[in-house]
């Protein structure tokens, strides 16, 4: 597991980078709990690439711009993932792997990570990138667990990636505005922080080219049976209101005048 690729000389110049993307409900969607009370109703939702994963793709494309090599995107999910995969190809990824499955909500992180790792292993990439966490479940561990399954080193919450000979030197974000550079050998897995650079848009040419790029479909069942979950999600519900904010109504001018009174007489800051 996780043995370096054959032909070490080749990867000193050309890195094979695999980016794992997840689709999540579009930010600011209005959400409704479904009848099972275990998830949200996905029927009327639109989906987009998880924001940190979009930055992981951007980090991969920046490395490719600079050093050449190949960028492969990997996405597990139902057919609705197709536009997100095509978008990644249009932005500059070379090819894609789609693990077709509609049982994602029944899988825990370990099961999903095993499924993704099985597909990744077949590609033997030098570098695996993904976002630091998903905007829906927010567990922040799929990438780390994949690294453990593959037996390769990893680092999380990465702001910058520098490619060295057979290593990467990466800038980790720590708490309270601190950072740290860490160097580790390839192959390695990195989870990328949102906002590390500006995201590129797909160009018209890119969109055209994407149509000819390979999207390989793998049936999830070909990657082994799902594992028994170690953790179950029993129920989702609206968070209880912790504190009822006193809401000030009226026109903008009326509300502003009332709030100014509060700032003067109650908060006493003017």
């Amino acid at each position: 597991m996780g043995s370096p690729r054959a032909g070490q000389e080749a990867f000193a110049t050309n890195m094979k980078i695999l980016v794992a993307l997840k689709q999540v409900p579009v930010r600011d969607s209005s959400l409704h709990i479904d009848s099972s009370q275990k998830w949200i109703d996905e029927e009327d939702l639109s989906f987009e690439v998880n924001e940190p994963d979009a930055y992981a793709l951007e980090a991969a494309l920046l490395l490719k711009d600079k050093h050449g090599g190949e960028v492969i995107v990997l996405c597990a999910g139902p057919d609705r993932t197709a536009p997100s995969i095509r978008e990644a190809l249009a932005k500059g990824a070379d090819r894609a792997i789609h693990i077709a499955c509609d049982d994602l909500r029944e899988l825990d992180t370990l099961s999903l990570a095993h499924r993704l790792a099985a597909a990744i292993q077949a590609e033997k990439p030098d570098l695996v990138l993904t976002g630091l966490q998903s905007d829906d479940l927010g567990l922040g561990q799929t990438g780390v667990v994949i690294a453990e399954i593959l037996g390769i080193p990893h680092a999380t919450i990465i702001m910058e990636v520098e490619k060295r000979d057979r290593h990467v030197r990466v800038k980790r974000e720590l708490e309270d505005g601190w950072f740290q550079w860490v160097t580790m050998p390839l192959p390695a897995l990195l989870t990328i922080q949102s906002g590390i650079s500006k995201l590129r848009y797909a160009t018209l040419m890119g969109i055209k080219k994407a149509k000819t790029k390979e999207i390989r479909r793998i049936e999830a069942s070909d990657l082994g049976p799902p594992r028994r979950s170690s953790v179950s999600l029993d129920r989702v519900y609206l968070p209880p209101k912790k504190k009822a904010a006193h809401l000030i109504s009226g026109s903008p001018a009326e509300a502003a005048a009332r709030l100014t009174e509060i700032l003067k007489h109650e908060v006493r800051v003017i």
Partner: protein, 326 residues
């Protein structure tokens, strides 16, 4: 398999979140009637035992090794795996810090477990713990239950458990020496650093007006800047604003930026992602202006205006100026 093991964090100083994780572990140990064990990974000379000894624990353990002086994923994962195997606890509780996020999923995976990450609450049903997590950026809560065999790994969010319930004790501290060789550690860390000299000190600012995604574009920042000026407040921001380079990173409030506790925190166009809330919920008075009445920021706000910031903020700036001049 019995006991609650809480893994504390020491990085030259104690991570404050360690004691919140200890509070959660104490509650868990009490309710499940299991012994409470605290452990920390440290270098040979780190002075950690004295502080641990003052806590009320069944056992306190320092995993000491030259290779644990500086944090690495491999060093910590290998050492803590050995400790967890030796103690064979039913639960492993950790503070949800950036360091824990880095190694704990990997540690849990070694036991074929998924980490219940970033728990905000704990309750008991039939004597068994139910962990509460937030989903979809705080819009929903979810109940999680451990169902597998093997230890249950949980990390605890900042601010979720109060440390004032902790009682003192006199615990004898043991040393655990993991088997660890430099050749097993693949990461070479450099010294941590701060991005730049800080020119604003939000942490001590009495008044902060903070701006978020709702401002839409850089050119709109002055709308909020003028309100801050009128109030004599410092300008703060949520993460996306600083990521976009619209304001310098030193103005960022939240888990990756500054932790603030001003007399007034006025949040404009900030929905209140948890990473932001942990940085400002110590504020004395919180006022939120946001177009979405369901935004989590209103859960921590004392006063709120639901409306278009581009209408409300200029009106507020004008009203404040008027009062100031009067």
């Amino acid at each position: 398999m019995t006991g609650v093991l809480v893994i504390l964090e020491y990085r030259g100083t104690w991570s404050r979140l360690s004691w919140e994780a200890l509070a959660a572990a104490t509650e868990l140990a009490r309710e499940t009637q299991q012994p409470l064990i605290a452990a920390v990974a440290a270098g040979p000379d780190d002075e950690v035992a004295a502080e641990m000894a003052t806590k009320s624990l069944q056992r306190g353990i320092v995993a000491r090794h030259e290779l644990l002086k500086q944090y690495t994923v491999d060093g910590f994962t290998i050492a803590l795996e050995q400790l967890v195997r030796k103690l064979d606890p039913a639960y492993v509780v950790l503070p949800h810090t950036y360091q824990v996020r880095d190694f704990a999923p990997r540690l849990a995976a070694k036991f074929d477990q998924m980490l219940i990450a970033d728990a905000i609450g704990l309750r008991f049903e039939d004597g068994r713990p139910v962990w509460v997590r937030q989903l979809l950026q705080g819009k929903l809560n979810a109940d999680y239950r451990h169902s597998g065999e093997g230890p249950c790994f949980v990390s605890i969010q900042a601010g979720a458990f109060r440390t004032d319930s902790l009682t003192g004790g006199a615990t004898e501290i043991e040393t655990f020496t993991p088997e660890l060789a430099a050749s097993q550690v693949r990461m070479k860390p450099e010294a941590p650093f701060r991005a730049s000299e800080q020119t604003v000190d939000l942490a001590s600012a009495p008044l902060i007006v903070s701006v978020g995604r709702g401002i839409k574009e850089k050119d709109n920042i002055p709308v909020v800047e003028e309100l801050a000026q009128a109030l004599g407040a410092e300008l703060g921001a949520s993460r996306p604003i600083c990521d976009n380079g619209w304001l310098p990173m030193e103005r960022q409030v939240g888990s990756s930026g500054q932790t603030v506790s001003p007399k007034l925190y006025l949040a404009v166009g900030i929905s209140g992602a948890i990473q932001h809330l942990v940085g400002m919920k110590g504020s004395k008075t919180v006022i939120a202006i946001n177009k979405d009445e369901n935004a989590p920021i209103f859960d921590v706000a004392d006063y709120g205006i639901v409306g278009d910031l581009f209408e409300v903020v200029p009106a507020l700036t004008a009203a404040v100026k008027k009062v100031r001049l009067a």
